[in-house]
């Protein structure tokens, strides 16, 4: 008996309804009242969180012909995505309020969020491909939303790479369907167990191309710095944070599920991608002077650490909770760091942050907490994520990868300190005069959440277990 209860998808449905309703509402509202759409979007995110919390302890279920799973991973993704979108919505007014297409901006964010969640919940290659498109296309539009030269270039680059790797992914889906005889993960796992290794390998690599593009991992990372620099900061905050969540969970689902049975060593594949991603991301971040490019490369290296947990999927039972915890921590901390960037629209380079602590004590403190949080300094929540990811990695026998990740963490400290040091220096701040108060408050909230959730690691980890 097929389960087709739409209530199982209530969190996703809330977001979609809000998107459609927001679009209609936005067309009838005068420009000064467009904030109502933002309110609708925020309410939908809050609704998503509540609807997810209510069903958290229900047993796992698959709905709509085994194509969609509602389990801990999906639920955690729903909450992480909704929380990140809420933070982004708090950042948005400074950038988009009063803009010509304000309501469309919120609608695109909501649609991309739904796509991201659907990627995480997808239990069928066809649905995964559809979710990939839903999570990608709104982002191309968002990247170019400012209609300026840099933004347009970023959007074009993003779109071209996305189109190429998206098609590659569809090719991979086709190949896997062909050799495995099914698209649902359960049947696919059986199918590719008997299929020729070379064909499966081609299919897996092509499929991963699209997912790694969404996650912003090497070798599909080229769009990240350009979008982070070219698009508006608030868009950058969204694009470098939210889609990663869905992509990493989707990769995890594949690696732990159907691909674990095949003749292809996906664990090694992911481990190598993780190693290259964190190392290249860190090396490239070393001498960036533009804060947004620096954060972009930092997000690339963070995906590398996350993939360590994914690579451990079949080798350690701590792998899934560790990845989910890290994703939640990463989402909040990364949005917090971008919130500081949004709060100071005139500060572009590291040097512009010189003397930040003198004029804006709390903003400087939030920056320090978020950046040291990204390094993995206790007691922030990313530390808890990193600790558990490393433990899972060692447990799965990936000692070399964990050592590499530790070395990379030390290296990453260098470029975060290149930003922290001038900000904490006792000097007059001349780079940036304008401060957006709402973004500053959002940064403080994110920093506090990063610390608070770190102290609550115990209960959190028990929940995602």
């Amino acid at each position: 008996m097929m389960d087709e209860n739409p209530l199982a998808l209530l969190p996703e449905i809330l977001l979609i309804v809000a998107a459609v309703f927001g679009l209609l509402l936005g067309s009838y509202l005068p420009r000064q009242r467009q904030w109502l759409v933002r309110f609708v979007a925020a309410a939908a995110c809050a609704g998503t969180i509540i609807a997810t919390v209510v069903v958290w302890f229900r047993p796992d279920l698959t709905v709509f012909g085994d194509s969609y799973v509602v389990d801990v991973s999906t639920n955690a993704t729903r909450i992480a995505v909704a929380a990140a979108v809420l933070l982004v919505l708090c950042l948005a007014p400074g950038e988009v309020a009063g803009a010509a297409r304000e309501s469309e901006w919120y609608v695109l964010v909501l649609l991309a969020a739904v796509g991201t969640i659907a990627m995480a919940g997808a239990n069928d290659l066809m649905l995964l491909a559809a979710a990939f498109l839903l999570a990608s296309i709104p982002l191309y539009a968002l990247a170019g939303f400012g209609k300026d030269a840099l933004g347009t270039e970023a959007a074009l680059k993003y779109y071209l790479l996305g189109a190429l790797l998206g098609v590659t992914m569809l090719g991979g889906v086709t190949v896997l369907f062909g050799v495995g005889g099914a698209t649902t993960y359960a049947d696919l796992g059986e199918g590719i167990g008997k299929a020729p290794g070379a064909a499966v390998a081609v299919g897996v690599i092509a499929l991963m191309a699209g997912l790694l593009f969404k996650a912003g991992a090497v070798p599909a990372h080229f769009w990240v710095p350009d979008v982070a620099e070219g698009a508006r900061p608030v868009v950058a905050a969204f694009v470098t944070t939210v889609p990663k969540i869905g992509a990493v969970v989707a990769i995890y689902r594949l690696v732990a599920g159907p691909l674990s049975s095949g003749s292809v060593d996906t664990m090694l594949l992911i481990a190598v991608v993780a190693a290259v991603t964190m190392t290249l991301g860190n090396l490239a971040a070393f001498f960036q002077d533009n804060v947004r490019r620096l954060l972009a490369y930092s997000t690339i290296s963070q995906v590398g650490y996350l993939l360590v947990g994914v690579a451990a999927a079949t080798g350690s039972e701590l792998a899934r909770p560790s990845v989910l915890l890290y994703l939640l921590g990463y989402a909040i901390t990364n949005v917090g760091a971008f919130a500081v960037v949004c709060a100071l629209p005139d500060a572009v380079t590291l040097d512009d942050y010189r003397g930040l602590r003198r004029g804006h004590r709390w903003l400087a403190l939030s920056l320090v907490v978020c950046l040291l949080g990204l390094v993995g300094t206790p007691p922030t929540v990313v530390f808890a994520g990193k600790l558990t990811v490393f433990t899972a990695g060692l447990d799965a026998g990936l000692g070399w990868l964990v050592v590499l990740a530790a070395v990379n963490t030390v290296a990453s400290l260098y470029y975060y300190l290149r930003w922290i040091a001038p900000a904490m220096r006792d000097a007059e701040m001349d780079g940036a005069a304008v401060v957006r108060p709402r973004a500053a408050i959002t940064a403080c909230v994110a920093a506090a959440a990063s610390l608070g959730l770190g102290l609550l690691t115990g209960p959190l980890l028990a929940l995602v277990r």
Partner: protein
């Protein structure tokens, strides 16, 4: 009670940050009062110290991250209690000494109170994750002290300090995870790990974990060859920062050896103890020789820290070498190591504060720039001389008690190494005597003309530290009675 001791300074720091419009002098008084209150609490703790069967007093064990068996497990025993007392005493001395600080007093006070919580927390932690949290935060706190209030080249020195010691902390984290995974059931609890002895008979895994832990703690201690972050960090840090860095933060490394490594990896420790003995002896000799070559007073003291920490490493290494029949020698070496940690904290803390007073008057640490200060500043000269003699291990001071026990305890297990390390004392004696002669005797010369004698806050912060060093030197029993049972427990674990 113990949690209150640990978190009182942090709470005061939060109040300092949140309260608007506090005058600088109000901040100073709140800072001193908080440190004094904490010291009083520690004294009460010491008076009420009564170790239970587990060996710990004031033990608290709460669930924190049950999914990975990590808890908020704290307690004091004979090894941590003296260090807790040292920490709160030294922080009070620094608070009094910093009455002169005029740059961003509020942030400075808040940072030091934060550091105090972190240091106290580390010494009472009985859980590896809790230990690591405090270990890492001590690096963050000290980075901001050096970078924010240091001398000219502070930014570079602070960066080097942070990167270097952070590398050590991640090596440590890998070792901790290794211990966790080796245990069945998996746990981060130090007491439980020491009971389980999870790596008995697992050669390679034990060696790798010991390597990770050893490197992590050796960087923090620091021992040769991981000491290169120390001289610039010390030279550029403000005086109170140097005193805390040398007096408390360096102890975290050596404390880690006796608290974590020896009890949880006893077999592996015995097998590779010789490595630590050799590293310890090289640190002793190399630290002393390089200190001898310094022209800069503060750098010289910094290198004597490498020398003094070398004795501790020698002692803990030798404790692993001594055959199981020589229980007495082993436990003497460990007692000596812990006593040395306390003694070095007091004496080097005082020396760094004196170096700060020197810089305050002359604007340089170059010993060549000074001469004949004894005539103008007799009390300054006297205090420096006392601290220097205490540091080189003259009988009557705490350093003698510590080093005597270390040498007696180590001689049986590592006779050659101990004999070589003995030379270290000779070299330190030479370098301190030369420094005293250069700066205090002869014709008066000082970069800024007249040389003011020690002020009241300086005396109030430095004299108690030296008085304590003398007290321990003359009446060591009150300290040794606390340390010895704990040292015996560790020695029994290593010997089993």
């Amino acid at each position: 009670m113990l949690s209150m001791v640990v978190f009182l300074p942090l709470a005061v720091a939060a109040v300092l940050v949140l309260l608007p419009r506090l005058s600088d002098s109000a901040v100073r008084w709140i800072w001193i009062a908080a440190c004094a209150a904490d010291l009083i609490l520690v004294v009460v703790l010491w008076l009420g110290y009564a170790p239970s069967e587990s060996g710990f007093s004031h033990e608290v064990n709460r669930r924190w991250i049950p999914s990975v068996s990590s808890g908020y497990h704290i307690g004091v025993d004979g090894m941590s209690l003296p260090l807790v007392a040292l920490t709160s005493g030294l922080f009070l001395a620094c608070a009094i000494y910093s009455a002169r600080e005029t740059r961003r007093v509020r942030a400075f006070a808040a940072l030091f109170l934060f550091l105090e919580t972190v240091c106290l927390g580390l010494f009472v932690s009985l859980d590896l994750i809790l230990f690591f949290v405090f270990f890492d935060l001590s690096i963050v706190g000290m980075y901001f002290v050096i970078a924010g209030w240091g001398h000219r080249d502070a930014a570079r020195a602070a960066l080097k300090f942070f990167l270097y010691t952070f590398l050590g902390s991640l090596a440590l984290l890998l070792g901790f995870i290794g211990l966790y995974l080796a245990a069945t059931p998996h746990t981060f609890d130090i007491v439980e790990l020491s009971r389980q002895n999870p790596l008995a008979g697992k050669g390679l895994a034990g060696a790798l974990i010991l390597l990770a832990l050893g490197v992590g703690l050796a960087i923090k201690t620091p021992t040769v060859p991981f000491h290169t972050w120390l001289p610039p960090a010390h030279t550029e840090a403000p005086a109170a920062g140097s005193a805390i860095l040398a007096g408390v933060l360096l102890k975290m490394g050596t404390y880690g050896f006796v608290r974590i490594v020896m009890p949880t990896l006893p077999d592996t420790w015995r097998r590779y103890a010789l490595v630590f003995v050799v590293v310890g002896v090289i640190s002793v000799i190399y630290g002393a020789l390089v200190a001898l070559a310094q022209r800069d007073f503060k750098r010289m003291i910094a290198y004597t820290s490498v020398n003094h920490m070398g004795y501790v490493i020698l002692a803990v290494g030798a404790a692993g070498l001594v055959a199981s029949s020589a229980e007495q020698a082993r436990h003497l070496a460990i007692t000596g190591a812990v006593t040395q940690m306390v003694s070095h904290g007091l004496i080097t803390g005082a020396l760094f504060l004196l170096a700060g007073a020197l810089y305050d008057r002359g604007g340089t640490y170059e010993m060549d720039s000074y001469s004949g200060l004894a005539a103008q500043a007799p009390r300054f000269a006297g205090l420096t001389a006392i601290a220097a003699f205490a540091s080189l291990g003259l009988p009557g001071f705490s350093g003698f008690i510590a080093e005597f026990q270390i040498f007696t305890g180590s001689l049986g297990g590592a006779p050659v190494s101990t004999a070589v390390a003995f030379l270290g004392i000779l070299i330190t004696a030479a370098l301190f005597l030369r420094a005293l002669q250069q700066m205090f005797l002869g014709e008066h010369r000082s970069p800024n003309g007249a040389f003011r004698d020690v002020t009241a806050p300086e005396a109030a912060s430095i004299v108690p530290l030296l008085v304590l060093a003398v007290l321990i030197g003359l009446f060591p029993r009150f300290l040794l009675d606390v340390i010895e049972p704990a040292a015996r427990a560790v020695s029994a674990v290593v010997g089993r």
